[in-house]
Amino acid sequence: MNEFVFLYRGGQAGRSPEQAQQMMQKWMAWFKELAENGHVKDRGQPLERAGKLVNGKRKIVTDGPFAEAKDLVGGYTLILAKDLDEAAELSKGCPILEVDGQVEVRPVMKLNM
């Protein structure tokens, strides 16, 4: 099994409490299925929207990133899959896709020594 990172970007919260709850339940069901099939290495963490950017040799610290909401990474998960194709296939079940969100699937680099 190889390791992959799912980066979740964008996605809108439900407009009503009922929609928000349904979204929540979909995420739980999706993670449960992934875990049952042995694909979850680490469920990961949510990330706060606001942070700092540190830039250049002069180490200038600014508030940010102020990317558009749809480009902001909201959290990540570590996934186990056979190959990149399988990992991408697994990401198709992510509920964020139903609400204009995006999953970025990136293989964790392997060191062949």
């Binding site: 409490p17 929540m24 963490q45 998960t77």
Partner: protein, 415 residues
């Protein structure tokens, strides 16, 4: 940890009520924003870490912390609840005051206070019901529009307008004064009654929506019963009528969601626990001299629920109860139901006579079940051709696919 059904909706109502108490009713929109943020945060965190042990407490704490931020940030720019102004100004008293307002007992009162505030006499009854659904039950405009068969635009306009009236009322309704409480109570009961009726008889094609409306009416009525001033005989009667009718709800629609006529209802599907609860509430309502229309309607529901088969129904009792109801709250619909009961006891011909004698019957002209009742009685009298005509009219007036297919079946039967 699984989320209980409609947890977010119910918590939304509780949080808005409590936040409005602290922010002041004029800051209703701000309270709604804070609630929205609390849900966004819950969604983001719970996705990864799982649902916490006590999700309600988690949401409340998140709302409380956001409220503290808002109060600190905006206390120079905004005025908050007038009766709390002084405590919120000083950093020494700010957090303890907010803490007290978020205590369990206070939150319960907040919901009741909001319920009474929504039943503002400046608003129509329909607007009051919509406002209760939106603020206290956490339904979005779209969800309310689907329950009331209104267009999204019309429902949104009504809610926006009602919120303005509420936000303009300076203060939330004070539920501690016995006199004011008693004066506003009938309007609150009426709104809950209408909310239940919308679920029970309403036109929404969706079965789930209707059951939810009935459940909300039941939940809010039991909240009213928990308050010493709210637990009057008439509130008990209202709670009884809700439980007794709700007990029959599973049988009103068949397995494919189609309407069933009274005679065809499968009584084994009645919810016996609800029926028993209704009976207990009905007994508790019988203290004191007050006899309200809720008492009478609850009694009618009990007679229906307690009959083992349709033909065992005590129609004489039902007719006399409808006579009482006509005296208390006359309406063409009550008169129609009375006529149907008379037909059950004295034959379809007598029923038709009674229907013809209804005053203001033109107000029933657009009600599909008025024509359907005429159709049923004509079938009973053997006049299939006349019956068919009535059902054709009913079909034209049908408000949803369930009603449509029900009338279509009746038309086929008349051939």
């Amino acid at each position: 940890m699984e989320l209980s059904e409609h947890l977010f909706r119910h918590e939304a109502g509780r949080m808005v009520a409590t936040l409005t108490r602290i922010f002041g009713v004029h800051n209703l929109a701000l309270a709604e924003d804070v609630v929205q943020e609390a849900f966004c945060r819950a969604l983001e965190v719970w996705k990864f870490r799982g649902v916490p042990e006590n999700p309600s407490a988690w949401l409340m704490t998140t709302a409380k912390n956001r409220a503290l931020d808002v109060l600190r940030r905006e206390r120079t720019a905004r005025t908050f609840a007038p009766e709390l102004t002084r405590q919120l100004e000083s950093e020494w008293t700010l957090a303890p005051t907010v803490e007290v307002e978020f205590a369990a007992a206070a939150i319960k009162d907040d919901a009741l206070r909001m319920m009474f505030s929504c039943c503002n006499p400046l608003l129509s009854e329909e607007a009051q019901v919509a406002l209760i659904l939106h603020i206290l039950c956490g339904f979005s405009v779209d969800e309310i529009a689907s329950a009331f068969v209104g267009s999204h635009a019309a429902v949104e306009k009504r809610i926006v307008r009602s919120k303005k009236v509420l936000a303009g009322s300076k203060k939330l309704f004070d539920i501690s004064g016995a006199e004011d409480f008693a004066r506003r109570l009938p309007a609150v009961q009426r709104a809950l009654y209408l909310l239940f009726n919308e679920g029970y008889h309403g036109a929404s094609p969706e079965k789930a929506v209707r059951v939810e409306l009935c459940q909300e009416a039941k939940r809010l009525t039991s909240l009213l019963l928990k308050n010493a001033l709210g637990a009057t005989p008439s509130t008990y009667a209202l709670a009884a009528l809700i439980s007794l009718n709700a007990a029959r709800l599973p049988a009103r629609l068949d397995t494919s969601g189609n309407l069933t006529s009274l005679a065809d209802q499968d009584r084994s599907q009645f919810d016996q626990a609800l029926a028993q609860e209704g009976l207990r509430l009905l007994e508790r309502s019988a203290t004191g001299p007050e006899l309200t229309d809720y008492h009478v309607e609850a009694a009618i529901a009990w007679v229906h629920t307690s009959a083992e088969r349709t033909e065992d129904t005590d129609w004489a009792m039902i007719i006399s109860l409808y006579d009482k109801l006509m005296a208390l709250r006359p309406s063409p619909i009550v008169a129609l139901n009375r006529a149907i009961a008379i037909a059950q006891r004295e034959g379809p011909q007598r029923g038709l006579e009674e229907i013809q004698a209804i005053q203001d019957s033109e107000r029933l002209a657009k009600y599909p079940f008025y024509h359907a009742a005429l159709g049923e009685l004509e079938i009973g009298s053997g006049h299939l051709e006349d019956a068919r005509e009535h059902f054709v009219v009913a079909l034209k007036l049908a408000r949803n696919p369930m009603e449509r297919s029900f009338f279509e079946q009746r038309i086929t039967l008349c051939k």
